[in-house]
Structures are given as structure tokens and as C-alpha cells.
Symmetry: C2
Amino acid sequence: PTETGSTMSMSCIGYIGILIICHGLYFQDGERRVDYILTYHIKKPSSSRSNRQSSRFTDNAFTRSLRRGTARLGRAPTPQPRGDPEVASQDHSMDYHVDDKRLHREEFEGNLRDMGMELEKDEDTKTPGVGFVKIHAPWHVLCREAEFMKLKMPTKKVYEMKQSTGVGAKINTLVNKVTEPLYPNVEDNRTHNVKHLSYMFSREKQHLFDLSDRDSFFDSKTRASIVSVIVSSRSSMTVDWRLESETIETINYSRLSQFIHENHIRNVFIVDLCLLYEEWASYSVFYKYQPIGLVRKYFGEKIGLYFAWLGLYTQMLIPASLVGVIVFLYGCATVDDNIPSMEICHPKNNITMCPLCDRACSYWKLKEACGTARASHLFDNPATVFFSIFMALWAAMFMEHWKRRQMRLNYEWDLTGFEEEEVSDHPRAEYELRVMQKSLKKEHKTQKVLIGVTFAIVFGVILYRISTKTALHMSNNPTTRSNVRLTVKTTAAIINLVVILILDEVYGAVARWLTVLEVPKTDKSFEERLIFKTFILKFVNAFTPIIYIAFFRGRLVGRPGSYLYVFESYRMEECAHGGCLMELCIQLSITMLGKQLIQNNLFEIGIPKLKKLIRYIKSKRRSFQEEEREKKLQRYETDHFLEPFAGLTPEYMEMIIQFGFVTLFVASFPLAPLFALLNNIIEIRLDAKKFVAELRRPVAARAKDIGIWYNLLRAVAKVAVIINAFVISFTSDFIPRLVYQYMYSPDGSMHGFVNHTLSYFNVSNFQDGKEPMDPQHQVEMCRYKDYREPPWSNTPYVISKEFWAVLAARLAFVIVFQNVVMLMSDIVDWLIPDIPKDISLQIHKEKILMVELFMKEEQGKIQFIDSMMPCGGKEKRNNHAPIARSRSIPHTHSHTHANNF
Amino acid sequence: PTETGSTMSMSCIGYIGILIICHGLYFQDGERRVDYILTYHIKKPSSSRSNRQSSRFTDNAFTRSLRRGTARLGRAPTPQPRGDPEVASQDHSMDYHVDDKRLHREEFEGNLRDMGMELEKDEDTKTPGVGFVKIHAPWHVLCREAEFMKLKMPTKKVYEMKQSTGVGAKINTLVNKVTEPLYPNVEDNRTHNVKHLSYMFSREKQHLFDLSDRDSFFDSKTRASIVSVIVSSRSSMTVDWRLESETIETINYSRLSQFIHENHIRNVFIVDLCLLYEEWASYSVFYKYQPIGLVRKYFGEKIGLYFAWLGLYTQMLIPASLVGVIVFLYGCATVDDNIPSMEICHPKNNITMCPLCDRACSYWKLKEACGTARASHLFDNPATVFFSIFMALWAAMFMEHWKRRQMRLNYEWDLTGFEEEEVSDHPRAEYELRVMQKSLKKEHKTQKVLIGVTFAIVFGVILYRISTKTALHMSNNPTTRSNVRLTVKTTAAIINLVVILILDEVYGAVARWLTVLEVPKTDKSFEERLIFKTFILKFVNAFTPIIYIAFFRGRLVGRPGSYLYVFESYRMEECAHGGCLMELCIQLSITMLGKQLIQNNLFEIGIPKLKKLIRYIKSKRRSFQEEEREKKLQRYETDHFLEPFAGLTPEYMEMIIQFGFVTLFVASFPLAPLFALLNNIIEIRLDAKKFVAELRRPVAARAKDIGIWYNLLRAVAKVAVIINAFVISFTSDFIPRLVYQYMYSPDGSMHGFVNHTLSYFNVSNFQDGKEPMDPQHQVEMCRYKDYREPPWSNTPYVISKEFWAVLAARLAFVIVFQNVVMLMSDIVDWLIPDIPKDISLQIHKEKILMVELFMKEEQGKIQFIDSMMPCGGKEKRNNHAPIARSRSIPHTHSHTHANNF
């Protein structure tokens, strides 16, 4: 790989910021490598105010630092319980003086040294105002922490994976050959026939591992994450100290990406990154699988899982969009055979409809709705019912497949025995601060109020939307031509989209603000609550207008002669003939496409570039000789200008909202999966580019699963079933058609359906001042879409029996659909085992091999002991249990074992 | 505890079979204790046929055994790959000769010895025909296996549990004092203030553990389960050998309970069992909590979990039955204020109803239904709607509580890091045999057919039931008096119960037979499939008649003048006025009570006693001097006459069916939780007695959860929501009443409801020959319960608008109820964290303490090394990282470590 590496590196150099490796990633001695770097701002003593204030505290801080210094000089390796947390919190609540900060920093660094880390400072950089602390973790620290973190490492023991034989193998080879071009050109990604057994690293079992090359045994991401764990938590066990350290960190330090580079493995490092750049972060390989193993190797498990998930999701979208397109084409093909729209468009059709608004509008002919009716059929045909069932099952399959993929990755990445790290359970420093300030109770009250306020905001937005949309429609209503109507709808949808995009950002900030006010106890719960809140708000934001169109628009219209009015003058808006499905579809497609194009691509590409530029300009302003110097900057200095890694939350959030679009209203918009697929193919490479070239390298985090996101996916999939049931039964005309066909149709066909859905209205029953001013037709009766008694019945305009029958059928359909689909999803869930069969077999096999290995070792030891004690050797032949007497060997206490470092 | 123990033991001796400990639980040398016993039958060479047949194979078997013997003599400790599996399977399919069996046995024992076990044979017992092999696992084997099994053992390190302070502590003390009598008198069960840290046992970390008393470090159940693991799997790694060993075992060996008893801890052992007997397996302590810790200590985690689950379930039934009784009392209290039944019972009520059967029956006055109507109100009032919502949430709470309890027990029992044992994933011997016989494919086909047959059987039973029940009713119908009716219903329900009880046993056998035919691959999947099948069949069996009554009876009746007929002559049965709820209630209570009384108590107490008696008599017949000898029998010989432990499946199954009764139809029978509670209070002690005194002590099995049962519980709870929704909306009159009150009632009250639900029928419209022969009243119009148009409308007897409105309301209620309750359950699920807060804090604390402990140890070692190397001591003062140079210490390969045995 070295050769390919070096040629590849040539093509990469100068392109990826991270790759310009010249010097400085070793300590001054050129031996110890840099595993982690902390940065801090070097400030000059500035304003007189802070100076005066701080002088009061300098003494205090100084004495404290002295006390601590003494403690450290005494070489007590465990951290000292701090005497006065009150002083600390007092300090915190005030402005830190520069000296005080420095002392804190020094104390923190002293603590790191106590933990065995080796540090080197570099304040004299070419980047003014920024100091760097380079950290090196020596071998024994790595070993110790790897043992505490229960890292699984590959052992020397190698075993051959079973190859399938016979026909299966041949098919396998064939499939592999066909799919060959789909695999990235990464050594790592090919199927191996041998696998190293993995075992939890432990210094007592060192002989199991291949430690011939200590520098490469722990790879760069592992080293960095070990240091990160020490920096963030292990450096002290007592809570009050941790609080202080965290305080220091948030004020003075910001983590910089860590570069792990050394001469003898430089090529490997470059190869990895170059491979990632060429085989992953490039649009030209969009059709290929991702080199997930390599992503994990470079970025850690958490980010690896995200991309694996995104990859699987995109893959699963292929069949969904295929079926979606087929369903859409079916709609196109059958549009001319659709009897209801044929009836509407029939030249002999002479049905006069009631006016769509008061006074200004006139009567109109149903024929005018011909275009809408035909278009509606594209999304409102029996195939969409099938498609929404299909998509519900698809969602269940997707979940199951993800569980399996996750399990497989867990196995491949040696995470099978791994439990969530306790680090994430640490109480957040801020929480403890709040507890100290005793302000928690008050916050709890305000939190409740605020949750209420949030809901009020959400409902307010809904109301606002309804009214503005009504107003918008009203003013355009006099022009009743359907083309104009469509334009109005489209522009309304675009306005909606803009509102959604703006509110999305607002809601993101609101969610963060609310979560901060809640003061969750641990970082993990903070993250989960933030995600949950953001999800709820963004989801409501994205889907409120759609839900309004699907379920409320045109429902509460009233009837001719007694329309419902909002604000006494605006009539509630009606849907065009053919249901609101058409409008729903327009709204959906515009929202989805718009969100994807504008939010994802524009924001995700544009904003970071802009930010980088701004930061660059800012630092340029400070010293004007920057340009010449820039090329001589240390690696970590150029990286300092990169955007820091902000977590995977925005990426997941975007995808889950998209998943909502794909599943929630799929009954009305079968092309959604196709749009999602096209977007995601770009999205993967876009994210990859961002991670490889735009962001500082994040600290590798271990993770077994995608956490709360899986639950949110499940929730969306569940809600999707119900919403689709309602869309089919209430928004589309599917159920009325069925009811007509089987209950009312004289000949079992759909002929007469349109007539059946229209009620009669006697124009003499118009309220005064509501009748059309300029009736183009002279009519006695006009028709309107509803199931009501005709004017000549005993109870005119009362809801008719047909209405109740159709309603009952609709509700029955909802119950049946919901329960059948839920049952089918459960069956899918139950039929597909969570752990792939080959993986469970392999895990089992590995366990057996491990036990066998230990047993052999055992035997080796016994023979060794036996050979040492000739008296024991004799008995052996008579007895099948020669081990039994080893009890008599003097018990050497392992405390006195010679250890390996 | 020794004192209490010895006094207690006196009261126990002679009562529990297991306790008569005299001698023989040590090997002959009196030092090595017996950890496990295998039994086998010693047969005399009997029939000439098998003799002749076997002589052909004696040679074969002999040579094989010779070959193996040689291999073993060569002292190759790993098992030899066997040459000819075909021969083995051939052998298996024929009758084993006695000699062959003995050789197999000897080989098996040899293998055990190779694994380090020590065996002692005892063929010369007082029980003729049974041989015993006593197994002792020496210390080093225990250590080795404990390490492989990753057992967590308590370390020397002790830490104090945080006591809550202030008001919380006071309340806690008060609560503890009040609930004091509820706790069993078991030391183990009290809250401790200190806890031993636990850590995965490893021989390298022996210094962590308190090994001062090697004999009691691993307790009896752990020793036994270690031996059990070796016997069942570890004794060989190759599959073909395991197959043979299993074969031997199933034919010749049967596991006997193991008695772990020794002089110096005899008291502890007796105390445990006596405590269990007195504080657990006794009806007098029915009001107390169970000593779960002790149960686990004696029987292992799996059985401990069952009783913990049963205990929690019973506990949770207390509030449920309380609310149920209140709801029932509310029904009783409001029966006189119920307007519909008042109207029916009103003396001025003069409504003439249409006859209930053809010709034989006459018209009847609605007043006659007064009693039924009043009784119906007890179970059909708004409170039952509340109660079924309550019970759905109760079920969700129960699940959540169980998850938490399980987590707590996992923590207390040191199972937190434990993964399911691989032993259970071993392919079943039978499966491998079938694979060898290549009969698997055929079986797979028949399996599918058979699953189809099962469903056919189930539906056949349903049909059979409907027809017989109809017939039964028909023949009794001429006597239309409601009292007689009630008797008929009751007897019908009892007949049903008997059928259910008989079919229950049949289905159990069918399920086992089907599963055997399926040939699942592993023991675990065998068990899960068997459970699933049995569950489905028994569930369908128990609930089919109830579902029939709830949802089908009285639905497809037709109307006067055009009734529906089965077999052309039997009219479908109607329900009495007031809905079928009353009948449903009778059926439910009889089935539930009957099943509990007969099946659980009679079968569970009676049958085992009977079996024991039969076995005793059988062995008595063999030798007539038995009686005198009996008292001198070895412990394991008396235990040989006990019933073997057959798994927890029947116990769980019984409880889950009961859970079904408690949740599924709770809307119609609010007293179900009370009955369940009363039954379970007895059930716990009954099961406890069985485990302590009636069964052989089962091999302790580790388990983290209750496995498939939890999923089945969830499924039942889910189905319960839907069924309750349908019971409320379709079986009860709740929705029609609401619809009447808010849509049709002139004054918003319930007055006139009865009249509204009755349609008119003109008696002249009776079909010929169907009119009553002996009309006691002369009538023109009779009434019947349905929503149909009156005879004078344009469309007489057609389903009316009210019907559709009520139907729509019913369906809407189902949708709302189902989704609201499911949402609430999900919220309960989401709000209650799965891991109790204190436990997660403790786990976190323990992890930190463990790391601290290791760090201290580390420092100790470093200081030791430093003191050994004076040159390193100097540098220390200048450098904060003195450890860094320890790299230069020569690397002692741990292969050459002196090990501790």
C-alpha cells in the first residue's frame, strides 16, 4: 500500500487542508508524537475595570495556586480534594483575571502531568493571541486507559472465515464480480478470508496481542480519544475539581483537531486520508458503496455509524423510489380510463356549480374543473393505497435492516462487548454550578411555563397560517380560472416554504434556549433533550401547513346558504373538485424540494465557506504580514482556522425530517422517495467532503448505535401509518368511490359517481347579500360537493344518510388500515432476526476459539509447571486429572508480578 | 445466623425431602465435595432379540472405544476429531447394546476427567438399577470456568452506600418502620449500607478477591452450574463429539439434583433452605414480600427472576383490583339512577317486543327484561370506560416497573456486564442428527403444511363452538323466562370451560409435537418456538368463546320478517335486552375462576403428588425390603424419587393467560384483577412449596431478563387496547347512549333512549309459518332492538340514518380510544426511565471506584519499581511524569509468569 499511497498523496497534497504536513507534529525532541492539542487565547491585560476588580482576587488565586502547587510538589498522584468550592463558584461568577486564568491552566496542566501525560507548550506561534499545548500520551498511559476503557483489540490469533461451498459459492463469486464496480477501491473494504480474534485489552494478557510495533498498535484516533477521555474526565475523580477544570476549559481552551503523524507511518496516514478523499468524498463515485471501514478508522465509530446509516437509507430508497415511480406512471396511464374525471370532462356534462365566493363569484360549470380532476387522478388512485401500505412495510424493513447492519458493524468493529462509556454520564459542569447556585428550583418552574409557551407558539403559528392563507386566497378569488388558482396555490406554497425555512432557524435556537433553561444533569441527557425538542419543533414547523391542507382545508366550509365565516367576512377556503389531494401534493413537493435545495445545499455548502472566509479575514486584519507566513504555519495552526465539528445532530435532523416527507404523506405524493434518493446521493458526498476537508478532525467517539435517532425514526414510522390511513380515507376520494360502487351504483360501475357526490341547492335560499352579483347563467338549482338532503326533502340541507355511511366506511378503513399495517410491521419485525445469522455464528465461533486458545495456554502452563516439578510428572500417567494437584503449588500473589511496562 | 439456623433446622428436618442430610455428599475421602451427580440405569442384558442384533455391533463399538482409549492414553488433552460420524449416527438409529452404552459412558467420563473434573462412581446403591456418578470440580477448574464464563464476583473492596439525609431520610425510616412486618425475616433482604464492589473474576486479578475461604467463595449453585456447563458443552469443542455425548446422556444419564453440602458450611446451607421454607414457601407469610435474594441464592437467577416477576405482578394487581372494586361498586350504587333501566322497569312501560324465536315463542313485554337491564348496568356504565383506560395504562406501568425491577435485580445480582451464555446457542444434538440424516428438507415442507393444519384446527373449533352453542341455546329457547335463560348461559359457560380445559392439554401436546417436527437449530430457538406456539394455541383456546360472545353473538341476527338462519332452521341467537355484556361477563368470570381453581390448584397440587406416589410405588414393587432401607438412603437417592424440574414455561404460561383475562376484556368485567390477585397470592406460595419440596433442585441458570415472556406480555397489552376499544364501542351501549344524548334527545337527557333504540315491525309482515302460534297479546306492531326504518316509511325496514350515525360514532370512538391509549402508554414508557436513577448512579459510582482502585494499585506498583531502581528516583523531582521511563524496564513476557495454582 505504500506505493499507491505515495502516488496518491501527490494528487492530494495542496488540496485537503489537513494534508500539508511539514514539521511540528512531534515534540521538540522529535520522538514523542503529538496526540492531542489544546488551544487557548493569550490576552493582554486590557480594561482598567477588570484590572481593578481582579486585584482583589489575585491574592486569593495566588495563595490557592501555591497551596495546590505544594500539593503537587509533594507528588501525591491522586488529586487533592479541594477545600473551598464556594470560593471557586464565587470566582466563576466573576470575570476571571488573566493571571487567574493562567494559574488555573497551569493547575490543569499539572493534573494532566500527574495522570502521566507529557505536555509541551507552544506560545510563540505565528498565530498571534493563540497558545497551543501539545499532549503526548506515553505507552503505559495508553495501555492503562485502554484497559479501563475495555477496548477490544485484535489479538495475534488469526482464524479463517468459513467460505461457502458449492452452488452458493459460485453465485457469490458471480454476484461479487457483477457488483465489483460498486465497491470503492479500498483494500479495507474487500472481504477477507482471515480475521484476527479480538479481545479486551488487558496488560496481564499482553502476550495475546501483537505488540511488535508499539507506535502503531493504537491508531491515531484511538490515541486521541484516550487523551480526550483523560482530559475531560479521568484527570480527577472529585466533582468539585472537575467543575473548575471544565470552567477553565470553556473559557480558555478550545479543543483543536489532533494530528497524529509520524515519519514511519506517514504513508499509512496519508493513504487513509487520500483514499477517503478519492473514494468517498468525491461526486464521481456517487454510485459506489461507501468505504465505511475506512471512515470508521479515521473518524471513529460514531461518525462511521452515521454514514453507514445514511448509506443504508439511501440504498433502501432505491426500491421505494422505483415503486413510487411505477405507481405514478400507473396513475398517468390510467388517467384516461378514470370514469369520474371522464364524466367531469364529458362535453355533455352540464352541471352548474354554486359560486365559490360570496357576491363576486358567479355560478360555474363543472367542466371547468376537468384539468384538476384529471391531475388529481395521478395521486388519487387505488395504486396509492397499495403504495402507502408498501411504504409502511418499507419503513419497518428499513428499521430491521438497520438493526442488522448495526449489529454487523458492531461485530466488525469489535464493539460487541462494549457498554456505553461512563464519561457521558458525568454530570455537566453547568448543572453542578446551577445546583450550587441553588437556582434549579426556580428554573424548573419556568421550564414548565416555557413548555406551555412553546405549544402556544406552535398553535399560534398554525392559526396565523390559516388566517393569512385564507386572506391570500380571498383576495385572489375573484379570478376563478383554475390556472390562476394553481398559480396562487404554488406561490402560497413557496411563501410557506420561506416561512418554514426562517422558523426552522428560530426554532433551533428556541430549542437550545429551552434546554439550557431546563439544566439537564448530564451531557447525554442534555443532548437527548435538545434533540427531542428541536425535533418536535422542526417537525411541527415542517408539517403543520401540510397537515392543515390534508385534514382541515375544505372540511369546515358549511354549505351554500349558511357558509362558515372567519372574522365575520372571510369564508373558509374550499378545495377544488377532486379533493384537496392535488393541493397537498403541490405543497409537499415544493416544501420538500425547497427545503432540500435551499437548506441542505445552499446552507451547508455556502455558510461554512463564508464562515471560514470571515475567520480568515479577521485573523488577517490583526497582522498584515500573514500572507507570507501562512505557508510556514504549523499544521495545527492552519487547522485552527477550520470550522470545529459541531456534532452530528444537524445531519441526522435533516435526514429524519426527510424521512418524514418520505413516509408521512406518501399516499398523496408517491414521488417523494425519488426526490429523497436524488438528494441523498449528493448529500452523502457533500457531508463526506465537509468532514474530510472543511471541519477540524473530530475526536473519535465510540458508539454502538445511533441512539435517540432510532427511536425518533420509529416514532415517525408509527405516526406515518396513522396519517396515511387518514389521508387515504379522508383526503382522497378512495372511500366514497368504493362506497358508491358497492352500495349505491345501479350497475356496479363508477358511472354516476360525480352526480352522487353533489348535493342540490335552491338559489332562492341564499342569504340576503350573499347571492352572486353577476350571474352569468340563469339558474334555479346549483350543485355543491357534499352529502346533504335536497331542498325538496322534508329536512332540506340536513346531512344525509349517505354522509354517515361514507363516514362510517372511512372510519372503518382507518381502523382496518392502521391495525393491519401495524400488525404487518410487527410481523416483519418479528420475522427478521435482529442479528444476522452469519454474524451470530461468527460470534459464537470466536467465543469458542477464544476459550480454546485459553485452554491451550492453560495446558502450556501446566506442562511448564509439571516440567519444573519432577515429582508431579509421575502421577500424571495414572490419573486423568493431572491438574488437580497443582493446588499444592505455592500461591504466588499477583501483586508482586513483574509488570510489562 | 448459625444459632437461628440450628433452631430453625430442627423444625425443618424430616419435612423437606432435601434436608435429610446424613452422609455421602463427600467423596469417599471425605474431603472433596460433590458438586453434581449424573444418574444412569443399570440394565441386565435382557431380550434375546436385542442381544442378537447387538452382537453384530459389539466389535465395532469395542474397536472404537479402543481407538479412543488409546487417544486418551496418549494424554492429548484436546478432544480428538472423530473419524466416522456416519458410524455414530448409524449406531444411534439402532438399539444400543448395554456394553456399548457402558463404553460410551466411560468415554464420556474420560472426557470429563480430561477437563479436570474428579469423578466417583456409586453403582452399589440401595436403589436397584440406578447408578450414580458423583462429580467434584476442583478449585482450579472452578477458577478457569468462572473466568471463561465471565462471572462477576464480589471483591474485597467495600464501599458505603449513600444514605439520604434530612427529611428524605426521616420519611424513609418511617416508611421502613411501617412496612417492617411486610419484609420476610431474612437477613439478606434488609438494606445494607455497605456493598462489595463486583468485578469479573479473573485469575490474574485474584488479589482483588477475598479468597481466604476457597470452599465458600463459589457457592453451591455456582459450582453446580459451572459443572453443568462443562458437562453439557465444554467437554468438547467439536460438534460431532458433542452429538454423541448428548446421545449418551439422553439414553443413559438423567441429571439428578446436586447437593452441595459440607461440614463447615452445613449450617449456612440448612439456614438457607429453612429460611426459604419458613419465610417463603408458607401460606402464613402470604402478605409478605418474597425473599428474592435468597431464592436467587438457592435456585439461581432464572428462577429468581420468575418469582420477582410474579411478585411484582401480584403487587401491581392490588391497585388494579382496588379500582376495579370501586368501579363495580359505582355501578351498584348508580343502578337506581340509570334512566334506561328505569324506563324499562317502569310500571307504565307497555312496549310489546317481537318474539325471540319462530312459532314457539310469543310476544313479550319489555318489562320482563327489567332484571337483566339492571344487572347490565353494573358492567356497562361510564366508569368502565375509565377503568379500561386505567387498565391499559396500568399494563404500561407494569411493563415499565418490571423493566426497572429487572434492572435493579441485574445490578444487585452482579449481572450488569453479563451477556447471554453461548451454551444456549449450541445447536441441539437432535438438530445435528436430523441434518445428518438429511431429513430436514422434507420436514420443512411438512412443517408448513402442519402450520396450516393448526390454523384449520383452530378455526374448526370456533365453528364447532358456534354451532353447538347455537344448538344448545335453541333447544332451550322455548322457555323464554329470563331466569331460565341465565341458567342456560351459565351451564353453557361451564361446558365451554370443560372444553377449554381439555383442549388446553391437547394443544400443549400439539405445540410440542409441531415444534419437534420443525427441528429448530438451537435449544434456545426450540424453547422460544415451543413457547410461542403453545401461547398462540392456548390463548386462542381460552379466548375464542369470549370473543365470539363479545363481537359476534347477536350481530348477525337479521330482523323480524327476515331472520338469518344457520342450517336453514336454527335462528342465530340474540342477546337479551341490555347488550351481550352481561353474558360476556358471566362467561369471563366462569372461565377465569374455573381455569384458576381447577387447572392451577387441582392440577398443580394434585398431579405431582400423584406422580410421586406412583413412582414410589413402582420402585417399591421391585424390592420389598425397601421400607426399612428407605431411611438409610443416600440424600441423592431420596431425591431421585422427586419430580424433575420441567422448566418455568408452564408457570409463565399460566400467568400470561391470566394477564390476558385481566387486561383483554377488563371493560366488561372490572372484578377480573381482584380474582387474579386472590389467585396469585396463593399461587406464589404454591409454586414456592413446589420448588422447595416437590422438585429436584434445578441447575442454576443465569438470566438477565424473562426473555420471550416480556414480548408476549407486551403483545397482550397491545391487543388489549384494541379489544377494549371494541368492547366499549360495540358490545356495550355506551356509544348509542352518547349519540342519543347529544344528537337526538329533545332535552339532552337519557329519557326516551329505550324507545329510540327500538324499531317498529308490522306483524302482518311475518313470513308464513314464522308468526307466533300462541300470541298471548293481540298486537299490530311489535318492537325489536335495531336502527331500521319503520314500516310506514318509503323504505320500510331499511337500515336507518341513525344506524350509520351510531356506527360512525362507534368507529370514531375506536380510533380515538386506540390512539389516545397507545399514545398515553408510549408516554408512560418514555417518561419512566428504564434504569432507576439510584441504580444508574450506583453503577456509575462503582465504575469510578473500580478505576480508582486500579489507579491506586498502579501507583503502588510504580513506587515499588521506583524503589527498586534508585536511578529513576532522582529524575522524579524535575519531571511530573516519572512513569515515562518505565518503558525501559525489560519486558517480562507474561507467558512465563508464575501462575497461582
